[in-house]
Point group: D2
Chain length 350, copies 4
């Protein structure tokens, strides 16, 4: 299968190329970058030296459509919708890594992103690209929107609890911690190593944009209006997310009963690992153990006195949180075995 | 004033010595360590070379009592109570850095620590060593118990909200992030650099011990039973705590109204800085900007849609979270200006 | 092909398992650990959860010999020689990851390790496991000794210079920098995250053991006695080595002439990448761009005024420096394509 | 004494302010920044909140000269010489933190910096600001040029060896490792946290500019032409330098004899600590133990077989490598006790 990548010079684009160059069923036809057109890919992504001999092209949608079966779009939020709309009309399949087609309700773009969506009709044709939520729809989709990196961790941790309606849905707290690659490669005072190193910086304690997609997907699961309170933090690592979902149970449930809810939902999912070790050192999910893989590790603990559940999930934000999900979606759309090109053991310690 | 330090070979003991060697009103008479007796202090704490020429002694309470006006006790939880009791009977003033005299209710030791307190009568004579809460009592105390490092950050962030009774006290979430020095110097698989580096490890998602002292102190402020749900995380840094306190407001309050509550409480406190910058890069508290100082930076953000407040506090766990609080308590007990020996600007970037 | 791993609970053992579980021509028959016998492998190496369902066994050489075509031995220096000798007599092929069979001259064990080698006759039967140096011998060997992690980086950088006799061989300085995984998983004060983080700690400025194998292999290349002065440093990362080899040229050589020497030697080597970018950001080898791969990136710069060459090499100490080399040796010994199971793109940024 | 700081918005300027706000004999009259004029200092340097209430001014040399006894100039190399010349003519004392007045020979600016020095006559009036080298001259100087951060570590380690003429001066290798604050605060792809984290990046393996000042000062000590080969590396920390100076002894000297050379030179220096512990964990200098202090820790090891000495030195690049040296020079120039305002214990662990 021939694929192209639009916007391949950033962190997510580079990670996508890392996956695609060793994917056994894929051939990369074209990679584009406005800023780096004409440069060899391996000058910008030195890791890829000896794996890819292409240069970045300027974006040319006709050429991309001609030479590719599927096109990945990896450009900033707000820049993607025009490109995707143009590609969509040409009939090519699209996997979008921006936020521009994640939300279904056009009003949500005004609320969370501050702009009116220019192609509201296209929103209903896009599928939210989490196979663990929408596998069947993804199979037949022309346009798939990969999820927000923190959103997908929260959603995977909360799904069994919401689907089984065991939570007080007015007091759900989503406290995320994420490495510096999650903010993209834009250089600035706040991302300079000396100033970013060693921080635990709450960067949007209220009203973070991922709240929108989390609420949308949980609402779909539950058929009611769910309120999620999200607070992300920048922490001192490059890759990795831990999302700590604090919630209150509507009724008493034992640990065993809750495990059953999780196992029922995720028993057959290859990229969701359920984590709990009562006596060992590694009792709960920790991004340390998923780096460079497509896993989302999920686990929980119970605070019986407060009837609180702490549902935790860990993933690599560039993998399950971005490029890994994109390739997983590719596999589903193309009918490949879902693990094709993604059978990476996490790299630990690193 | 002559002081002694019992248990000075660990991280907290080392930090305490760092402060005491440059404290203008203090002379260190004796430092003890069971494990390092006979060694020069600077062999164990190489930073202190040229500042201190003492060797560690074995603990001898008579000698300590004879040669010291105040004794700091910096030994592990559960090991301190016997020593403190023996010192107390000798009439010397004591600043204890363990948890052994923080809780007032003997039953709380069974609940949170799993052992019966051997000196329950002494608990009522101990003062919880947060001057911002109990300054007057500390002045006259013979025994002061320094607070838990995460507890004090949470307490300082929540005090204005609890004291003014604006919170729904059934849904308070305390999500803490702390560096590796907070766990003490005990070497093991989980603290090995290669395995500890890069983690975001939830290490006691429910029922963490600091919950006990937070609830105790908030109850005292509010005269009602408050439920706190605490989850600490080990993160990839050595020093520093950020505590994110998520809570729900009982009624609508504007940002300005809440700022007034904070200013009323902390306007004259030298070690609590109120942080908010609407437009800059540094909008909220971040341990990055308090390292090596005794500050606790406090700030908040409002999530009006969910009527949630996110109250954040940042400190250096070895300073305001341990040795800095101990010296602040010393200054209060001794009648020194409270900033004596603690006028450190934070070290940034580091 | 069936393989076993003796001593699989450490960092190197874990990395070896990471590679073997996805190696397409290998089946793991048995993994042993004295300390962890009976435990599931994924409790000790949580990353491997869902990839391996074995438990650690006690070491039983008869069973290993029966069930394995090749046995990897990954135990500490000085503990390996007895095991390897016993396996050797049983006729099984062995890939040893310790230092016990790297040196050819038994006296060198006294000099560098401080003990007499108990099986001096076996030293001549062992092949130093760097395919770029000894590929043909490895093909037919029963026993291969994987190189020291820093040694192999230095050797690969210096080979073209020594083989072409262009260096003053009395003033070769090898200044290495290595992450914390290189020291093994033994917990102690010096490896505790809080004390190991942020160091640049010279840990054996003179007489480091790897000097012995570097000199041995360079002597073989040059047929003269070469003096290497090595100084390793522990730096603040988990994986990765940069070795800076400072040397003086015997005669003037242009940059172009030296590049030819490197290209002649490494033009066909898949795991040695030659790095130089005159104008980009990434001009020289940097472990950042080889993490989790089996590459050793090599490059150099010239200091014409002092007739000095700085030859730099970067690798992942757990990969090309240990487990990756072991699998590369396996491929050579077994007649597999040398890249089998090792076609990993480096993980960047991480 | 009233002081001003020109260019106070960067890392070095911020560190200088950190020191000056608690210096007991200094009052800050004016701080300037072209980019940040009008902003409160604590918005740019949040650590300084509650220590300083000034705003940045535009640079006005008349006002500075009127209101200050000494002016610190902390602007980029090449930008300083004009400002310093203008200040010099006004008769005010100047402490320059750039490279613009470090070198004595105008030709060296062409060689190392690529530009002709516009005020060559002023070079002879400037004193190289290392009190351990030029204390007497600094006392009477109007213009002092603070040394390069890596240069001063190398110089302090080599001084006793050069002054006593024990080295082969044709084969001196200076291998430096430095944290990210050393490169200044300029944001870019190479300094982005995600790309700078985890590197060991050789950034100018040959011909680094600090070579010029090291050679200049060693030549002065020895009265002969010394060749230094320097290679700096960016490593994964914010503060700190370790410089490993590899050199060869002209004749056999015992460890004890060499210690005597060091003690004779540094026995009375308060900011140079001699480090060696035969049996402990902390045997050699390590920046870990000098962070936030003005110390340069110096030590060595001998490689008798190669007659090599490894002389190591560790400092905090923002302190002894920049702002700390500047304040030390201030103290010397003003006749204060040299430790005034610099009696900081290093902050460890951090």
């Amino acid at each position: 299968m021939k694929v192209g990548v639009i916007g391949a010079s950033g962190f997510v684009g580079g990670e996508l190329l890392r996956l695609l160059v060793t994917h056994p069923k894929v051939e990369i036809s074209m990679v584009t970058s406005r800023q780096k057109a004409g440069e060899y890919v391996h000058r910008i992504h030195p890791s890829l030296k000896s794996f890819i001999n292409l240069t970045f092209s300027d974006m040319n949608l006709d050429k991309l459509t001609d030479s590719c079966d599927i096109v990945f779009v990896s450009v900033p939020h707000g820049k993607s919708n025009q490109i995707v709309n143009d590609l969509f009309k040409r009939g090519v399949k699209i996997i979008d890594l921006s936020a521009d087609f994640r939300l279904k309700n056009p009003q949500d773009y005004v609320k969370w992103y501050g702009w009116e969506h220019p192609y509201p009709d296209l929103l209903s044709k896009s599928v939210y690209g989490v196979p663990e939520f929408h596998r069947e729809k993804i199979k037949g989709a022309q346009l798939v929107a990969c999820p927000g990196c923190m959103a997908v961790t929260s959603l995977l941790a909360l799904k069994p609890l919401i689907e089984n309606d065991v939570l007080d849905t007015d007091h759900i707290i989503v406290d995320s911690k994420i490495g510096s690659s999650g903010a993209g490669g834009q250089a600035g005072s706040a991302t300079h190593h000396a100033m970013r190193y060693g921080v635990i910086r709450p960067y949007k304690p209220a009203k973070h944009r991922h709240t929108g997609e989390i609420e949308q997907e949980l609402n779909l699961l539950s058929n009611k209006k769910i309120h999620v309170s999200m607070t992300p933090h920048a922490v001192n690592m490059v890759r990795g997310i831990l999302t700590t979902n604090h919630a209150f149970l509507k009724k008493n449930l034992s640990e065993l009963e809750i495990w059953k809810l999780y196992r029922n939902i995720y028993g057959k999912e290859i990229f969701v690992r359920l984590i709990r070790d009562k006596n060992g050192i590694y009792k709960f999910p920790d991004p340390k153990f998923v780096i460079a893989s497509n896993f989302c590790d999920v686990g929980f603990d119970l605070d019986e006195e407060n009837n609180r559940i702490v549902a935790m999930s860990a993933s690599d934000n560039l993998m399950k949180g971005a490029a890994g999900s994109a390739v997983q979606n590719l596999n589903v759309m193309a009918g490949f075995d879902e693990i094709t090109g993604l059978r990476f053991t996490p790299v630990t310690p690193v």
